[in-house]
Amino acid sequence: MTTRQGSASSGLEGRTTAIRSPADPRPIDASMDLLNQIIRQPVDPDYAIVKARGESSSRRGIAFGAVAVVIGAMFALAAVQTSRTAPQLAGERTELISRIEAAETQQDQLRVRVTALSADIDRLRTGALGDDDTARTLQTQINTLGPAVGTVAVKGPGLLIVVDDAPSASDDLQDRVLDMDLQALVNGLWQAGAEAIAINGHRLSALTAIRGAGDAITVDYRSLTRPYRVEAIGDPRTLHARFAESAGGITWNQLAQNRQMRYEISSMDEVTLQADPGMVLRWAKKAK
């Protein structure tokens, strides 16, 4: 190590780069010392020193050969390992995908079960409430509140809005429908007086998040597939016009015009929106 340092400093002295001024003997590129040294002294200076000392080199042929074997083995190992892990990674990916798909199937089955059980609950509740005055009041309340919060399926006149990525959306993220765009669309519909909204059949409730997860948009933690069908129930005379004037409507007009995204609005005489099966509160209780 000492010899290396000595020769490194001698390399600096031998340099002929421009000098800043007689008063300041440091070369202009003193701050680039490391790179200069790497480029100017690429060969280990010890080679020259040992050679000058005149040591014989035949004694360590075994060590030399061993190092050569080690280097060769390292190359081979790295190559083998890289080529071996590639299919392994692909396999892991496929396995993860299949696990996700299995979990989604299970989730679907559970949702179906939840819907069936909710119907049971409704039926049993009606039976248990009986037919007196308070029971009728409660039943009326349930019938009014259920559709509003999204626990029961609803139908009525409304709008069907179909949106999709621009045709040339392969690379530019700006040409694709983002979670923000869907949020703007839905907020516009609420603003326009929509009473119930569903995206690709997923009913929106107070617990439904619309967010981007990787490449997909999720509603109620379910990934959506394109195109996105947004259905809304509201006043058939005003819903369309008020939506067009809302911030969401304006945003989508611009997206359709500037980005060539698909954006089709049609009025529907009757739209049926399913209940949100995830409407369960486990922790939130009534305060009083």
Partner: protein, 110 residues
């Protein structure tokens, strides 16, 4: 002759024995290879300059690999392991290129 036979022997050994590298050492293998390449090119250039000695080669190879690995190790301890790996690769890469250019000039006079 020894180095070429050794290299080929090592490659054959590595390909056929396929020893598994411990998981903890795997980040260091590529770095060790780049350090080894640096030592190899430096040795070849010294050989062309006429002052090659295998003692210096063995010592420079081992110290190169150890220093590169320890830099990366420290990097992983302080959370900049991949960045330091990149740094090591860049610095050694510059040296490899410089040496390769000198070797080319010495061999082909071009």
């Amino acid at each position: 002759m020894i180095p070429i036979i050794g290299l080929i022997l090592g490659i054959i050994l590595g390909l056929f024995l396929e020893p598994t590298i411990p998981l903890a050492l795997q980040p260091y293998l590529p770095i060790a290879i780049v350090a080894a390449m640096d030592a190899l090119f430096g040795a070849f250039r010294a050989y062309l300059d006429g002052n090659f000695t295998d003692r210096v080669f063995v010592v420079s190879f081992i110290s190169n690999v150890l220093i590169a690995a320890s830099i990366v190790y420290v990097g992983y301890q302080i959370g900049v392991g991949s960045q330091l790996s990149t740094g090591v690769v860049v610095v050694l890469g510059i040296r490899i290129f410089t040496n390769a250019a000198a070797i080319r000039r010495a061999l082909f006079h071009a």
